[in-house]
């Protein structure tokens, strides 16, 4: 069983370094969306997730309702439930409920990828160590990005409006290039979202619900048409 704290810390350092640049971009984008520096930092420290946080700030900027925000967070972060189910098999039976409550806070794509590919079972001390550097990197990057955002002149800040979408494209295009099902799902989602925007009959639906409806529809269609037996991601 893998359960040494420092073994976890060591495995977590590359993740933490990677998170620095992503959360730096989040800090910049949050400030550009009109979110104060302190709130950007608190969001990062309490959420620890990229897609959900980016979605969150764009919905806050659009003054969406709480229900919309809650539903969209649920939909975007649903994949963590799958990872959580999978980790529940991977974590030693000796890990108690209190430790499980702590470990679950740190389930991210990368932390899941590293811990779930360890040989044999993993323990609570290893998981705690593994989460340390990513958490610090995520927080520090947000602080630096948000502060940098406030120091920029207004003309530059307006150009930063595209940052969040640039990030989204950097997340979605590479896998769409390699996997036709992902490409298909994206196209359905984009078409659906454009319909809501440009068809007068549908234009009254708020942005948050459009994302939820189109997300569920596109992923559902993808799952029915292209069920994948073993996903390597």
């Amino acid at each position: 069983m893998t359960n040494r704290f420092f073994h976890g810390v060591k495995d977590g350092i590359p993740i933490g370094l990677g998170y620095l640049s992503v959360s730096f971009t989040f800090g910049l984008a949050a400030v550009a969306a009109g979110i104060p520096v302190w709130a950007a930092i608190v969001i990062s420290m309490t959420n620890l997730t990229s897609a959900g946080q980016f979605a969150g700030i764009s919905m806050i900027a659009a003054t969406a309702g709480y229900l919309e925000v809650a539903l969209s967070q649920l939909v975007i972060n649903l994949r963590y439930a799958l990872m959580s189910v999978s980790l529940s098999q991977k974590i030693s039976k000796s890990v108690n409920t209190l430790s499980r409550l702590g470990i679950s806070f740190g389930i991210t794509d990368e932390i899941f990828a590293v811990s779930s590919t360890k040989e044999g079972k993993v323990g609570g001390r290893y998981m705690g160590g593994l989460m340390l550097a990513p958490y610090l990197g995520w927080t520090l990057g947000t602080v630096l990005g948000a502060v940098a955002g406030t120091l920029l002149p207004p003309s530059v800040q307006s150009a930063l409006g595209i940052a969040i979408y640039g990030m989204f494209l950097a997340i979605i295009i590479p896998p769409a290039k390699k996997s036709f099902p992902v490409f298909f799902v994206l196209m359905v989602a984009v078409a659906c979202s454009c319909l809501f925007r440009y068809l007068p009959a549908l234009a009254g639906v708020s942005q948050g619900f459009v994302i939820i409806i189109c997300g569920l529809l596109a992923a559902g269609l993808g799952a029915v048409l292209f069920p994948e037996k073993e996903d390597e991601a």
């Binding site: 439930a81 595209i162 979408y165 950097a170 590479p174 989602a189 440009y198 529809l217």
Partner: protein, 98 residues
């Protein structure tokens, strides 16, 4: 709707999704449709968030299109998130200066 409320909702839902299965469930999901659905959902959500919103994210649609094109090409070349986002910003900034 205040900022603290938004943060509580975001953090609460995100944590709930992560913790409930780990604490409660002891069985693995084997259903291939459910697994595929979970795999596709982030892309579906990000896709519908990006389009057409990206066209209205800057001062003008011209600069937004320039930024979109730049970001799409860089993303296709698999540049890092920070590279894609920052160069797209620079292009938007330059186009708006014209």
């Amino acid at each position: 709707m205040n900022l603290i409320g938004y943060i509580l909702v975001m953090a609460g839902v995100t944590y709930g999704v992560r913790c409930l299965p780990l604490v409660l469930l002891r069985k693995d999901i084997t259903n291939v449709y459910v697994r595929s659905f979970f795999k596709y959902i982030p892309y579906a959500v990000l896709g519908s968030m990006t389009f057409p919103a990206i066209l209205y994210a800057t001062g003008s649609m011209i600069s937004a299109l320039a930024g979109l094109l730049t970001a799409a090409v860089l993303a296709y070349l698999e540049k890092s998130l920070l590279t894609v986002a920052s160069i797209a910003c620079v292009v938007v900034f330059l186009v708006e200066m014209l």
